[in-house]
């Protein structure tokens, strides 16, 4: 009999192996979709750390995704940096921004925390529009193919794009899995379940939350920076409130507080809209109904239900 811990590692390893193998079988259209899904799922993994594991409802994560997106995008378009440097700049921007916002937002709790994070994200969105001269506002800007080359490999090429997105997803998933299985992660779960008790066991709850916001913001920024580099488009819509709500939806659908949930939720939502928009123009109605259905019958999300009914060992 395999130990629960081993089963957990094998299950997540299996998912990564499956995603790797998938590129050899997928038709071109879905190939591109999956690359996009993996990048956005990495963003959702970052969000899940703060929402699903620590129990903090942030409504402003788009600012971290956008920090990575614009950090790397502008580094290339305005300063002509190489892809590697641009990536580092994007992640650093998200890291610094999450430290600043975290320090301020953690002075509040509950509904006030939601509003403060939402307001910071709106301020970020308006900042992007304000500096329209450089960011080109809503219209956004495109990064040339020639500028998106890492170690001689063009990131706009389909195969290398899939592989880059897959690498990003691997890094995010493995980091998240290692974190939630560590002592640090167990304290985060304790905070989510009973914050007061955790504090009264001698844990500095605010410090744990602060570190998690930085980690979450940095992973979100890494996803944003990768998005800019792989798909070559940087626009203000990624800083808008929709992109703060999306990761919340993906995580809720897939299963908050499960490592694989963000990917499952992202795939589900992406293809739900993709397929229903092929049938009707009222595709958001279809999406809405399915969401209501899931909220009623699977309130823990897909993987949350799987965990509570079948695989209790799943991280």
């Amino acid at each position: 009999m395999m130990s629960d811990s081993k089963k957990d590692c094998f299950a997540h390893g299996g998912v990564l192996l499956f995603l790797f193998a998938l590129q050899f079988f997928l038709p071109a259209y879905h190939h591109g979709n999956m690359a996009r899904i993996m990048v956005l799922a990495s963003y959702a993994i970052g969000y899940n750390l703060i929402f699903g594991y620590t129990g903090l409802l942030s409504l402003g994560h788009a600012i971290f995704f956008a920090a990575g997106l614009y950090g790397s995008g502008l580094a290339i378009s305005q300063f002509g940096f190489s892809v590697g440097v641009a990536l580092v700049i994007g992640v650093t921007a998200g890291c610094v921004l999450s430290a600043v916002i975290g320090a301020l937002a953690l002075r509040t709790e509950g509904v006030a925390f939601m509003i403060v994070t939402l307001m910071f994200a709106q301020a970020g969105y308006l900042t992007v529009l304000y500096f329209g001269e450089y960011t080109r506002g809503d219209e956004g800007f495109v990064l040339a193919h020639a500028d998106r080359v890492l170690w001689g490999v063009s990131l706009s090429d389909q195969t290398s794009r899939y592989f880059s997105a897959f690498s990003l997803f691997c890094v995010s998933l493995i980091m998240c899995l290692a974190l939630v299985r560590s002592r640090f992660g167990k304290v985060l779960i304790a905070i989510r379940e009973n914050e007061e008790r955790t504090q009264m066991l001698g844990y500095n709850v605010v410090w744990y939350k602060f570190c998690t916001i930085i980690l979450s913001g940095s992973i979100s920024a890494l996803a944003g920076a990768t998005y800019a580099l792989l798909f070559g488009y940087v626009g203000a819509s990624f800083a808008s409130v929709e992109y703060s709500i999306y990761p919340l939806l993906w995580v809720l659908l897939g299963g908050a507080g499960t490592v694989i949930g963000p990917l499952v939720g992202m795939i589900f939502m992406f293809y739900l809209i993709d397929l229903s928009s092929g049938v009707t123009t009222a595709y958001m109605l279809v999406a809405g109904l399915v969401l209501v259905f899931l909220a009623v019958f699977a309130p823990q999300g897909v993987m949350g239900e799987v965990r509570s009914r079948m695989w209790k060992w799943l991280s």
Partner: protein, 243 residues
């Protein structure tokens, strides 16, 4: 005496919206003692414990613990310093397993997982919950949840264990086991016990502090408390009279 105090409160006062909940409360708990804190409902017992553990900050006065002035320390820092605290209203991690509940308490001071498991086993054994180690904490009976909370206190291996009404809702046999547990801990760890059950207080406490209307009314050994006309009038002779 003051030199040996593990916990010392001097002139503690706190006001809520101008209403004085505690005024000028001073008391010392020497190392190794089992101290009971009693008083009628609304006397300020839980408020006082809140001040001692750092969940509330006093309007004036000081708290010294283990030789340090901890008056302005946040609660988690006091707990790291060696205070263990159990809540009056059961506060556990209901969705997590019994083992994980206690392990969270042990992990803060034990670096190795094998040592954590030893502490968990030891603490659960002491409160008699060893057989429930793999159960979900929320599925335990109310009495067992109270005991789990005490196990979480023990697993912190504190110098001072603060128990806020630990026997509330326990069955007679659980209460007997609890009394035996406190006797067992006597001398090993200092205990501050907030308790309504007079039988428990009279049997396990070395020394009793009686609070009334936010002030210390009386202090003495259990037999003196029982004999005191003052306490009788304020507390035992009131609506709660049993003894």
């Amino acid at each position: 005496m003051a030199v040996l105090s593990l916990l010392s409160a001097q002139g503690l006062s706190i006001k809520f919206n101008g209403l004085s909940a505690l005024s000028d409360v001073s008391f010392d708990v020497p190392k190794g003692q089992v101290r009971a804190l009693i008083g009628p409902n609304g006397a300020g017992k839980t408020t006082l414990v809140g001040l001692l553990s750092g969940r509330l900050l006093p309007s004036s006065g000081t708290v010294h613990f283990d030789g340090q002035n901890v008056t302005n320390w946040p609660s988690h820092k006091r707990i790291v310093q060696g205070m263990g605290y159990t809540f009056q209203i059961t506060s556990i991690f209901e969705t997590l397993r019994v083992h994980e509940n206690v392990a969270l308490a042990a992990r803060r001071h034990q670096m190795r997982d094998t040592l954590v498991n030893e502490v968990v086993e030891w603490a659960l054994d002491r409160v008699g919950l060893a057989e429930y180690v793999n159960d979900i904490a929320g599925d335990l009976s109310y009495g067992h949840q109270r005991l789990l909370e005490i196990a979480m206190g023990l697993a912190q291996q504190p110098k001072l264990l603060i128990l806020d009404e630990p026997t509330q809702g326990l069955t007679e046999s659980d209460i007997e086991a609890f009394k035996a547990l406190i006797d067992d801990l006597r001398g090993e760890v200092t205990v501050l016990l907030i308790e309504h059950n007079m039988d428990v207080v009279m049997q396990v406490a070395d020394f009793v502090t009686v609070l009334e209307s936010g002030q210390v009314l009386f202090e003495g050994v259990p037999s003196d408390v029982k004999a005191s006309a003052l306490v009788r009038a304020a507390y035992l002779g009131g609506a709660n009279a049993k003894a």
